[in-house]
C-alpha cells in the first residue's frame, strides 16, 4: 500500500494522469494484489490510507482537505475491491464475481464523488478510464458466473413486472454497468470548466466503452442516443481530431457500424474510411474489423469489389468475401446463392448477411450485361458508319439467361420483375415493352459504370 501511495504522490506532483491511473488497476500480478490487500486490516485500512494520502504531498503541492478525503475513499474502495478480487482470481469457494463487481462499482462511485464534489482535477481522468473499463470486464464475468448457475435463479427485482424479462436477467450486471457508464458520460459531458481543465477530454473514451457495452447488450440503438446527445454538445467540445488516435479510430468505427446497421451505407462508408485511414498500420485485428463492414459498404455504394491485394493480409476476410465476389464478377446467380448460404452463419454473426445478400443485384446486373454484349451489333445503317450495339433484346433471351444462371426455370413475369428492379435501381438503362416482348436498352451506357 505504501508504494501505491508513493506512486500516487509522484503522479500528483507531476500531474501525470496515466501514472495515477496505474495505481487503480486490478491487472497486477497476484503477488502485488496480495501485498496490497495484506498491507492493512479492516479496522485500520481507513486510517492508514487517509494518513498516507495526507502525507503523500506536502508544502506547496499539498492537497486540499476535500481532495484528501476523496482520494482516501477511492483507495479504500480499491483496497476493498482487491479483497474481493483475490479469492475470485484464485477460484476460492467463497469467491464471487458479483461481489467483485459490486466492490468495483463502489470504487467508481468514489471516483465519481471525487469529481463532483471533492475537487478532483481533470488531468486525473485516466483513472476513470481504468476503473470504468474494468467495471465492464467484471460485469461480464459476473453475468457469466450467474448464468452458469442458473439454478440459483436470482430473479429478485423482477417482481413488479407483468412479464418476466429474460434479456435483463441474462445481463443484469452489464445493464447496471451501462447505467454506471452513462453516469460517467454525463459527468464528463456536463463539465463546464474551461476546456484546458475540462473532463470533456474523457468523453470519447467513455463513449467507446458505452458503445461496446450496448453492442453486447444487443441494444445498439441506445448508442444512437449517445450520438444525439453528443451532437447537441458538439459546439462546446474539443474536436474529435484533438483526442488520442486510438479513441478516434474506435469512435469512428462504431459510428460507421451504427450507420451500416441502419443501411445508411454512404455515411457508414465515410466514417469507416475515416477510421481506416487513422488506424495504426500494425493493428491488424482492428483493420480487419473495419474492413468487415467497409467492404460490403463499398460494394453497395460504388459497386466495386475488394482487390486481392487489399484482402491479402486477412485470410479470414478472404474466406468471407472472395467466394461471393467471384460469383458477382462472373454473374453466376446460382453459385452466388450457394456461397451466400455457405457463409450464412458467419455473415449473420457479423451482421453483414442482409447487406451481402444485396450483392446479388450486382451478379444479376453482370449476367444481364453479358446477354447484352452477346447480342452483338446491329448492321450499320450506312456503310462505314459507327457500329451500334443491338439495343432491342427479346425478353426470351433474358429469361433463358436467368433460368440458366439460377438453374431453375423462371417464368417471364418473374424475369420481367427482376429487370424492372434493375431499371428502377438505375443499374440498367432502358424500358420493358411488355406488349411486344422486348427490352429496349439505352444506346449510350445501358449498364452505367461498366463501360457499355
Amino acid at each position: 500500500m505504501d508504494s501505491l501511495i508513493r506512486t500516487f504522490s509522484e503522479a500528483q506532483t507531476s500531474r501525470h494522469g496515466y501514472q495515477l491511473a496505474q495505481t487503480l488497476s486490478p491487472d497486477l500480478p497476484q503477488q502485488q494484489l496480495q501485498a496490497i490487500w495484506q498491507s492493512c486490516g479492516h479496522h485500520d485500512a481507513q486510517n492508514v490510507i487517509k494518513r498516507g494520502i495526507q502525507n503523500s504531498t506536502s508544502g506547496f503541492e499539498k492537497l486540499p482537505k476535500d481532495e484528501v478525503q476523496g482520494w482516501s475513499d477511492v483507495y479504500l474502495a480499491y483496497w476493498k475491491a482487491i479483497g474481493e478480487l483475490l479469492p475470485a482470481l484464485n477460484q476460492a469457494p467463497q469467491a464471487s464475481w458479483t461481489k467483485v463487481y459490486d466492490a468495483w462499482k463502489e470504487l467508481l462511485s468514489a471516483l465519481y464523488r471525487g469529481y463532483i464534489g471533492q475537487g478532483f482535477e481533470a488531468w486525473s481522468i485516466p483513472c476513470l478510464y481504468v476503473v470504468a473499463k474494468n467495471l465492464r470486464i467484471f460485469a461480464l464475468k459476473a453475468d457469466e458466473e450467474r448464468n452458469n448457475n442458473v439454478a440459483a435463479g436470482d430473479t429478485s427485482g423482477q417482481i413488479f413486472q407483468d412479464d418476466f424479462d429474460p434479456e435483463s436477467e441474462q445481463h443484469q450486471k452489464l445493464e447496471d454497468c451501462a447505467r454506471q457508464l452513462n453516469r460517467i458520460f454525463t459527468l464528463c459531458l456536463n463539465d463546464r470548466a474551461p476546456l484546458e481543465e475540462s473532463r470533456k477530454w474523457g468523453i470519447y473514451y467513455i463513449i467507446n466503452l458505452l458503445f461496446k457495452t450496448y453492442f453486447k447488450l444487443n441494444s445498439a440503438s441506445l448508442s444512437k442516443n449517445i450520438l444525439k446527445t453528443l451532437s447537441a454538445y458538439r459546439g462546446d467540445m474539443p474536436p474529435l481530431s484533438a483526442f488520442p488516435k486510438s479513441q478516434q479510430v474506435t469512435f469512428k468505427y462504431y459510428e460507421g457500424v451504427l450507420c451500416f446497421l441502419e443501411e445508411n451505407y454512404h455515411q457508414a462508408e465515410e466514417h469507416l474510411t475515416h477510421a481506416w485511414s487513422l488506424c495504426h498500420k500494425d493493428a491488424m485485428k482492428n483493420k480487419e474489423l473495419i474492413l468487415t463492414y467497409l467492404v460490403p459498404c463499398h460494394l453497395l455504394t460504388t459497386h466495386t469489389l475488394p482487390s486481392k491485394k487489399l484482402l491479402e493480409p486477412y485470410p479470414r476476410l478472404q474466406k468471407l468475401f472472395l467466394p461471393l465476389c467471384d460469383c458477382i464478377k462472373k454473374g453466376q446467380l446460382h453459385a452466388f446463392d450457394l456461397a451466400l448460404q455457405e457463409g450464412e452463419n458467419e455473415f449473420v454473426k457479423r451482421r453483414i448477411y442482409l447487406s451481402m445478400e444485396r450483392g446479388r443485384d450486382l451478379a444479376l446486373r453482370n449476367l444481364l450485361r453479358k446477354v447484352f454484349i452477346a447480342g452483338g451489333f446491329e448492321e450499320p445503317k450506312t456503310e462505314g458508319g459507327p457500329r451500334l450495339r443491338r439495343t432491342r433484346i427479346p425478353i426470351a433471351e433474358f429469361v433463358a439467361a436467368i433460368s440458366l444462371g439460377s438453374k431453375k426455370a423462371m417464368d417471364t413475369d418473374e424475369v420481367e420483375c427482376h429487370m424492372a428492379n434493375m431499371i428502377y435501381k438505375d443499374m440498367m438503362k432502358g424500358y420493358i415493352a411488355r406488349e411486344r416482348g422486348f427490352v429496349v436498352l439505352s444506346k449510350s451506357g445501358a449498364f452505367p459504370g461498366t463501360g457499355v
Binding site: Q31, G41, H42, H43, I159, N345, R358, R360, E416
Partner: protein, 524 residues
C-alpha cells in the same frame, strides 16, 4: 503511511519500479479473511496474543502472532497487539487458564460461533478483568463461556433490533456482534455482561463510522479554481449527495408468491407494490380461467375484455414464476387473438415472452410463432432483430414450412422480387396473413413504382391485378385511384390499360411515406 516495519526505507531509496512491493514483508498469507460482509472476522485473531507464560494452548493458531499490522492507535487499549513479555509479565492465574481451555474444548464448541469471535470475546473478557484488577477475584469456574456470551448477545441484539427504529441500518445480529468488538478495543468498553443495554448503540456508532465519511462542505481555502467552485455550486443545487448516497433499497426477500385467489376473472392492474397472495390465482385456477376466456372469446369477441383478462393472467403467472407449457399456451392464445385484432403491441409482448419460453425448452407451437416473428420484424423493418432471428434459427427449423415461407418472404422483399412476394402472400400458412396484411400495402406501392419506371408505354390493368395480387381489376383500379392516378387509366377497345409511361413520380411520395413510418404501440 509509515509502517513500523523492520527497516523503513528512507524515501527515495525505493527502486523506481511502479510497485516495489517488498517481498520481505513480515506477514505470511493468512487465510482468515473472508468477505467484506464480515469485517471483523476477517481481522486476524491475533489481536489476542497468548501471554508467554500461558500454558500450552493447542487451540491458538500459530499464525496469530504473525499479524503484523501494528497500526496500533486503535488498539491502544490494554492488550497491546505485540506482546511485550519483558516489560510486564502477567502472571495468569490457573483458573483463567482453565477457563480458556474449557472454552476451546471440542464438546463446548458451537458451530454458529466462529473461532475468531470466540478469541476476541475471550480477550475482551480477560483483559477487562485484568484492568479492573478482578483477575483473582472472579470466579472463573462460573464465568459463562465466550460462545455462550456471544449467543446471548446475538439474541439480545435481535430483540433490540426488532424493537428499535434503527432498522434502516439493518444490522444483522451476526455482523453486529462482530462489529461490536472492534469498538470495544478502541474504547475499552465494559464487557457485555455489565452493560448489555449499550451494546446496540455501540454498534450503531460503529457502523455509522464504517459508512463513507460525509463530505465536508467547508470552504477550503485552496479551492480557488473555477472548476471547483462550479462543482460546489452544482452540488448545492443537487442538494448534496443524496443521489449518490442513496441507501440501497432492501431486496425483496421473498421468493415467488403462491396465490390463493379462487376467483376466475380478474381485472388487470399494473403492480406498484409486491403482489398479495390473496389476489393472485394459482395455476389450477388459471387453467379454469383460460377455458372460460376461450369460451367467452368465441361467443362474445369482446377484445378489450379479453385482452384485459389475459394481461392479468400473464401477471399472475409471472409473479408466481410459473414457466411451463401452460404458460406457453396462455401467451400463444393471447398472441393469436392480438394478431387477429391487429394489436401489435400486445402481440409483440407475447412473442418476446414466447421466444424466451421456447428457448428454455418448453414445448409449444414454436415453429408457428417463430415464423410470425420473422414476418413481424419484416413489418417493423427491424433489421437488427431480423438478423438476430436468422442467427437463432437451426438448419432444421429453416426447412419447416411456415418458417421457410417467412424466410422466402424476407428474401423476396430484400431483392425487390415483388412477383415472388405476392405469390407467397397468397399462400401464407397459419395466421401469418394477418401480419402480411400490415405491410402488403406499402409493398404494392413499391412494386407499382418499379413497374411505372420500367414498363413503357403501358401495361394492361390485368397485369397489375395479377402481379400485385389484387382481388379484382376493380380493386387494382381503386388502388391507383386512391393515389390520384385517374389519368393513368385508359379504356382501349374494352381492356383497361395502365399508362405507366405517364406516371412519373406519382407513387414515389406515398411509397417513401409508407416506408418511413412504422408506428406500433409497444414497439421501442
Amino acid at each position: 503511511m509509515q509502517w513500523p516495519s523492520a527497516q523503513p526505507p528512507p524515501p527515495g531509496t525505493q527502486p523506481p519500479a511502479p510497485y516495489p512491493y517488498s517481498t520481505a514483508t513480515a506477514f505470511t498469507p493468512v487465510q482468515v479473511r473472508q468477505t467484506f460482509g464480515q469485517p471483523y472476522a476477517a481481522a486476524p485473531p491475533a489481536s489476542y496474543p497468548p501471554p508467554p507464560a500461558y500454558g500450552p494452548l493447542p487451540t491458538h493458531p500459530p499464525a496469530a502472532p504473525l499479524h503484523t499490522n501494528p497500526a496500533a492507535p486503535l488498539t491502544a487499549a490494554p492488550p497491546s497487539t505485540t506482546p511485550e513479555p519483558a516489560k510486564k509479565k502477567i502472571d495468569w492465574p490457573e483458573s483463567v487458564r482453565n477457563y480458556v481451555q474449557r472454552s476451546f474444548q471440542t464438546s463446548n464448541l458451537d458451530p454458529s460461533v466462529s473461532r475468531a469471535e470466540m478469541e476476541a470475546k475471550l480477550k475482551e473478557t480477560i483483559s477487562y478483568a485484568n484492568d479492573q484488577g478482578h483477575m483473582y477475584s472472579i470466579n472463573w469456574e462460573k464465568m459463562p463461556l465466550p460462545q455462550e456470551m456471544i449467543k446471548e448477545e446475538r439474541a439480545r441484539a435481535r430483540a433490540l433490533q426488532q424493537a428499535s427504529s434503527f432498522s434502516a441500518l439493518s444490522i444483522s445480529p451476526t455482523s453486529g456482534s462482530k462489529k461490536r468488538k472492534s469498538t470495544d478495543f478502541g474504547e475499552g468498553a465494559a464487557p457485555p455482561w455489565r452493560n448489555g443495554q449499550n451494546r446496540l448503540e455501540d454498534r450503531v456508532t460503529f457502523s455509522a463510522d464504517k459508512r463513507p465519511a460525509p463530505v465536508e462542505d467547508a470552504q477550503s481555502k485552496n479551492q480557488s479554481k473555477f472548476q471547483k467552485q462550479l462543482e460546489k455550486r452544482q452540488k448545492r443545487f443537487d442538494g448534496g449527495y443524496k443521489s449518490t448516497y442513496r441507501e440501497p433499497t432492501p431486496p425483496p426477500s421473498d421468493g415467488p408468491v403462491v396465490g390463493t385467489c379462487e376467483t376466475l376473472e380478474k381485472r388487470y392492474l399494473r403492480l406498484t407494490a409486491p403482489p398479495v397472495p390473496s389476489v393472485v390465482r394459482p395455476e389450477r385456477v388459471l387453467r379454469q380461467t383460460l377455458e372460460l376466456l376461450k369460451r367467452k372469446w368465441k361467443k362474445e369477441q369482446n377484445y378489450s375484455y379479453i385482452c384485459d383478462q389475459f394481461k392479468s393472467m400473464r401477471q399472475d403467472l409471472t409473479v408466481q414464476r410459473i414457466k411451463n407449457e401452460f404458460t406457453v399456451e396462455v401467451y400463444e392464445i393471447h398472441a393469436r387473438i392480438a394478431l387477429e385484432k391487429g394489436d401489435l403491441g400486445e402481440y409483440n409482448q407475447c412473442q418476446t415472452q414466447l421466444k424466451a419460453l421456447y428457448k428454455m425448452g418448453i414445448k409449444g407451437k414454436s415453429i408457428e410463432f417463430k415464423a410470425y416473428r420473422i414476418l413481424y420484424f419484416i413489418h417493423t423493418a427491424n433489421r437488427t432483430a431480423l438478423n438476430d432471428v436468422l442467427a437463432d434459427l437451426t438448419a432444421a427449423e429453416k426447412e419447416e414450412e411456415a418458417i421457410k415461407h417467412a424466410l422466402d418472404v424476407r428474401s423476396a422483399l430484400a431483392l425487390g422480387n415483388y412477383h415472388r412476394f405476392f405469390r407467397l402472400y397468397n399462400d401464407t400458412p397459419n395466421m401469418g396473413a394477418y401480419l402480411m396484411d400490415m405491410f402488403v400495402g406499402r409493398e404494392r406501392l413499391a412494386a407499382i413504382c418499379n413497374i411505372c419506371k420500367a414498363y413503357k408505354p403501358d401495361v394492361p390493368l390485368r397485369f397489375v391485378t395479377e402481379e400485385l395480387y389484387f382481388e379484382s381489376d376493380a380493386d387494382a383500379a381503386q388502388f391507383i385511384l386512391d393515389y390520384q392516378g385517374q389519368d393513368l387509366l385508359e379504356d382501349r377497345n374494352g381492356t383497361v390499360v395502365f399508362l405507366t409511361g405517364k406516371a412519373k413520380e406519382l407513387f414515389e411520395g406515398p411509397r417513401k411515406a409508407a416506408f418511413s413510418r412504422v408506428d406500433i404501440k409497444g414497439q421501442i
